[in-house]
Symmetry: C2
Subunit: 343 residues, 2 copies
């Protein structure tokens, strides 16, 4: 089923020029002016028509690389990851690499299967947004000596390359921001998870309240199940709004939680920011369209994706260097949802 391999000599023959000239043009040097533009154009058109694969095979033979990166993301239908994938792709392309993507659906077994499929497809390295309980991917890749970078989520028990957001700090800033705007009883909604980034977000929130002298009620923290989120978030919000000490603000620790929470506010006719202040993690697009623009911790998707590729490129060059562990700050984008009207 494979297409016939086209060589420089096939193109030279078709174009009626020398192989050296074809090589010269297709390696991108024609701007130096030794070739007329018509000839260069003609060679490129023929190369395209014959489906010539520029350099890739020769380069692969030369250095044993395939110039392909495997990207495993936790959930392709989450716009945060979809946008990160796009950044990884753009940056990889600038480095001459193609990205092939698999989505693990937040399932460690699927992630492991994908890893194997991509290893068998001979990727040069991996960028991985880990799902819960997928540590054995890390141990397996370390065992076989496959370069990889963990992106957005990492396992502190393992010494690996990673590029992540400073999650504790982001939550801390969200909490302090709400406190400074006069909110006092701040709830926090997260997924139920043992993942480090989730725990860090909770820790930052708790530290902010403690440092400002607020004694948080235990039931201000709500953990909902990822695969039953649409239902559990309603219960969580009901409890936060009607508990013994009802909350006056909520931090949503993910985009998906916020979207479902805001929908439920609409249903219950809860008004933001007067009935409840809101800060969320996640994406702006949806938050822009809510009747009250939602304050959020902007995670630097572009920087996260770009840096992950850079770290992987360095790792491919220098397999034995110490690990690169990059932590990037989120940025508070304060809007109406966290500005309570003066009473």
């Amino acid at each position: 089923m494979k297409p016939k391999k086209i060589s420089l000599s096939d193109i030279a023959k078709e174009a009626g020029v020398s192989i050296a000239l074809v090589s010269y043009v297709l390696s991108g040097k024609e701007k130096e002016g030794r070739v007329g533009p018509e000839i260069a154009q003609r060679i490129r058109v023929i190369a395209r028509e014959l489906n010539y694969q520029p350099n890739l095979l020769a380069k692969s033979l030369r250095d044993g690389r395939t110039y392909t990166i495997g990207l495993i993301i936790a959930d392709i239908s989450n716009p945060f990851f979809a946008n990160i994938a796009r950044e990884v792709e753009d940056e990889s392309r600038r480095n001459g690499y193609t990205v092939i993507i698999g989505s693990s659906d937040e399932n460690a077994d699927k992630a492991y299967d994908l890893m194997n499929v991509l290893i068998n497809r001979q990727v040069d390295g991996f960028i991985i947004v880990s799902s819960e309980n997928s540590e054995r991917i890390v141990t397996h890749l370390q065992t076989i000596g496959m370069p990889f970078v963990l992106l957005d989520r990492h396992f502190p028990a393992f010494d690996t390359d990673f590029v992540v957001t400073n999650n504790a700090k982001a939550s801390y800033e969200a909490g302090v921001h709400l406190l400074e705007n006069g909110y006092r009883r701040i709830g926090f909604v997260a997924y139920r998870s043992v993942m480090f980034h989730v725990k860090e977000r909770i820790r930052g929130y708790q530290d902010a309240l403690r440092d400002r002298g607020i004694v948080a009620e235990a039931d201000w923290l709500k953990e909902v199940q990822f695969d039953n989120m649409a239902t559990e978030i309603r219960t969580a919000i009901d409890e936060l709004l009607s508990g013994r000490v009802p909350i006056d603000a909520i931090i949503f620790s993910t985009y998906g939680l916020a979207v479902n929470g805001l929908k439920y506010f609409n249903e219950r006719k809860v008004r933001v920011p007067d009935d409840v202040g809101v800060v969320s993690f996640g994406q702006a697009e949806v938050f822009d369209l809510y009747y009250c623009p939602i304050s959020f911790m902007r995670q630097p998707i572009d920087v996260l994706g770009k840096r992950a590729v850079e770290v992987l490129m360095e790792r491919l060059q220098q397999p034995d260097n110490p690990h690169r562990q990059v932590t990037i700050d989120a940025q508070l984008i304060a809007r109406e949802s966290s500005q309570r009207k003066p009473e």
Copy 2:
């Protein structure tokens, strides 16, 4: 770099049972009750610990397949495609296939490169959401006899398998719906494109107006450039709202156009549905959160993804069957944005 291949006999040895028993359990037959649950569990745990690759290699050797599908989508950061990718993945998995994904960023050259990368990775077939001017992918795959299904967008000049929405009908219904709700001057915002699905959406809108006796002004149709959308849509809306015959409703032909258009309405303090009625193509999640829930043509993402996989599976079985060309209706979800208040 490849991990050591683990055989059934390695697992049998480790578990202290027969190879036949291991094969029996790992092929998923243990529910028939011939094996005790502890033994079955023990075998599965060992298989996992040893990183056993179930069946895949043996199956591949037997029938020459890799049980991998290449999915090329036009833009991973568009939630419509990201969600379609998730459906394709789920359905493929049910069929024993793994999906590897590439995103072409609406660029025909990138799509062609991805196709080559995935062919070299020996996928069994492709599901492709085509970008503009990417017909040579179709001709190349036909030339080399590689099975493929076009999804969501197709090229009517080529006889291929495809699974698409009935776009003309969807636009027609959107137009009729607005007319029946009392709107008379209906604008239509689309990407500037030669793609068939875009043309079909425009055609359906024009047919609806014509069939209901409305003489549409030429400048009610606005085509904006994909890669300059954020700017051009503002101009388009300004012109629609302040033209010689200002419009009283708009159909947005994609999710991205709608999001940017609605944001601009907020800026200009244009009120939906009283100043302008709205129907959009695309996704519900964002539309749910707008102060006025947006009516939209629901494209059956789940059915599109599932059917595309089914058609590809049939094609892999029956390479010489006539082409399957599946057209699926969108469904109008009518909400407040297209209900003008009685005057």
